[in-house]
Amino acid sequence: MRFPLADCNSPIVESMFESITEKLTAAFSRLTSRGKLTEANIQEGLREVRQALLEADVNFKVAKDFIASVTAKAVGKEVIESIRPGQQIVKIVHDELVALMGPTDGYIHWQSSGPTVILMAGLQGSGKTTTCGKLAKYLVKKGKRPLLVAADVQRPAAIQQLQVLGKDLGVPVYAEPSGRPPKICERAIGHAKETDRDVVILDTAGRLHIDAALMQEVKEVADRTKPDEIFLVCDAMTGQDAVNSASAFHAQLPLTGVVLTKLDGDARGGAAMSVKAVTGKPIKFVGLGEKLDEFDEFHPDRMASRILGMGDVITLVEKAQASLEQGKVEKAAEAFMKDQFTFVDFLEMMQQVKKMGKMKDILSMIPGLGSQLKGVDVDDKDIGRIEAIVQSMTITERLHPELFNGSRRKRVAQGSGTSVEAVNQLLRDFQQMRKMMKQMKGMMGGKLGRAKMAQFAKLKGKGGPDSEAFRKFQGGLGGPKR
């Protein structure tokens, strides 16, 4: 039974602070607070940025162009006194990434007369069929009456797959057992008009962008059906080749947007940047799981953090807001900052965290931690056991863990149905955790950190999280105290 966060010597905790902000802070440590950013003095730092982008699978050419534009933006800027140069660069980089991938655009061009036609295209295995189902569900929620069209006559059972999805959703599916997709799609639109469906979603076969015949075929589908939207479906795990396939699809089809799939994995998703750079078309939606409602509009700021390896703090916070009781969080945060963190706070924190979902899912959203979590066994049952141990302590013991002697440990072990070893382990972990909190506090730096912590605790969920505030909060986490 281990509480993985509690071990401050573990590589996990180390890497947690080793985000891009951290690396950049180190790279800029020699830069004084006076003076300007010059091409020479930011070069080393930008190498770190480049490395981060390449690790995230951003195409090397796109990364190169990006670095050039960041250099142009950064050079000549006064070093702002209150901010470390590393953070200043991170902000410039982050903002540029957001600008490049944004803006948020979930807009669909609706046809005023007759059904709106949406064509989905992409490589094999990118997730077109699942995305069609998700889009249909999304549109039904918006009060639309979609018709799904099975235009994939290539892959065995692709038609059945769409039919099953349609049945689950209660959305009709138009299919013909054989024939040419352009004709099928054309007839499907006629069918939609007859049956009073106002959106037609065309699920085309996956195809390689260098397959001339199949590319011609999808072009023909587009020519005949005159889609209002043509979405390229792109797997978030795609590597350097994303630019080649996206530009080939873009050359053949008048794309209007991109859907990025499989973002529920731990890929950093640099393909998003590559695809946006070569097509210039907005990333409209993202796929976040196998369930049909795991579909969302694209958030460029979250994607930017993800590509930079900063973790998806905003989603984490949204999750937290949805499930936490504000007063209790504030209290825990306060205890945290005041160095008075006891088992009482610990228990409350665990109970709050438990409400947010599976421990592993939550941890994976913490900056820099996600990629380190593989192989770390975070069993939610362990949390139950830890809770049992704490609940077997008297209130005095919870407030003063230093009281624990042998017989108290034995009693708690018996009371919680665990072993003395387990109790010892928890006590050790708790001490480590306190130690780590002290370190974190040091890193966030005195008053400034405290203010940010309070800011963190006070953000409430009404109009969604204040992403700007959170970006600032994230920025504040980097680097040792000056």
Partner: protein, 310 residues
């Protein structure tokens, strides 16, 4: 199972045609001018490796070796750099475990478990393996353990009919481990040579789905203690650096023995297998180079390195 090497090389080369043309052109471009091995050239070289999805870590490592060899005056002309690179990659990818011979059980049935993330090409890759094995006069049985994705069972069933092999299946939503157990049972009873087990695509970050996969392997072991004899991780050649995380995580849950590199007939270079070999140790066993069941080749490190840099 040894495929004709001539044909294998031919198809692999055809699949890598684009790659080869691109890389060799750009490499020749780099060296033709008789440039000095300066920082610019090294940066460009590194870019070529990264463009092939080798990943910055592995690329840097290889480039460092180039630099060291240069310092030791190992290169007489720029072409030597290119030979050096090719040898490095060949050496990395090679080894006794690389290449496409399935490890057959001492006594049949041999069980091959096929795993991977969603959309990597597992079912098509199974069809390819089934096709090859059938041609080699092996009696093949398929197990449709992807009971999750809509119509996945039907997809494999259509392949089984096209290739002419038997299939063990259950309804969508059934316990995949139970299907695997039944299939292992049937494989023994029907005296098949090879049982190919298809599994649902799962992202390696989904703990519960990974546990389910572990259970499938355990259940097969209950019936056949030495099985599975081969666990192939199917990797989409277009995948970037996340493939390394996939390889690491899948290997923690099941005894992955090698990679099936699918969809190498596009423009993607599949260079992440070099990173995987370097960081995780897994060899590539097979390469998928098209959509028909015949578009499969055993992986040949020499041919791969040759094709990459020829």
């Amino acid at each position: 199972m040894a495929f004709g090497l001539g044909g294998a090389l031919g198809k692999l080369r055809a699949g890598l045609q684009k790659t080869r043309e691109k890389l060799s052109q750009s490499l020749k471009g780099l060296f033709a001018i008789g440039r000095k091995l300066d920082q610019d050239l090294i940066d460009e070289l590194e870019e070529k490796l990264i463009a092939a999805d080798m990943g910055p870590a592995t690329a840097t490592q290889i480039i460092d070796e180039v630099k060291a060899a240069y310092k030791a005056r190992a290169f007489k002309d720029p072409n030597d750099v290119y030979v050096f690179l090719k040898d490095k990659i060949r050496a990395l990818l090679g080894g006794p475990d690389a290449g496409g011979d399935i490890r057959f059980a001492a006594t049949p049935p041999t069980v091959v478990l096929v795993v991977g993330v969603n959309g990597s090409g597992k079912t098509t890759s199974i069809a390819k393996l089934a096709s090859i094995l059938t041609k080699e006069k092996k009696k093949v049985l398929l197990a449709a353990c992807d009971t999750f994705r809509a119509a996945a069972v039907e997809q494999l069933e259509i392949w089984s009919q096209r290739i002419g092999v038997e299939i063990i299946k259950a309804q969508t939503g059934a316990d995949p481990a139970a299907v695997a157990f039944d299939a292992a049972d049937a494989a023994v009873a029907r005296k098949v040579d090879v049982l190919l087990v298809d599994t649902a695509g799962r992202l390696h970050t989904k703990e519960n789905l990974m546990q389910e996969l572990g259970k499938i392997q355990r259940v097969i072991k209950k019936k056949l203690p030495d099985a599975p004899h081969e666990v192939l991780l199917v990797l989409d050649a277009t995948t970037g650096q996340n493939a390394i995380a996939q390889a690491k995580t899948f290997r923690e849950v099941v005894d992955v023995t090698g990679l099936f590199l699918a969809k190498l007939d596009g423009t993607a270079k599949g260079g992440v297998v070099i990173g995987i070999r370097n960081e995780v140790g897994l060899p590539v066993k097979f390469v998928g180079v098209g959509e028909t069941p015949d578009d499969v080749e055993r992986f040949d490190p020499d041919a791969f390195a040759e094709a990459l840099f020829e």
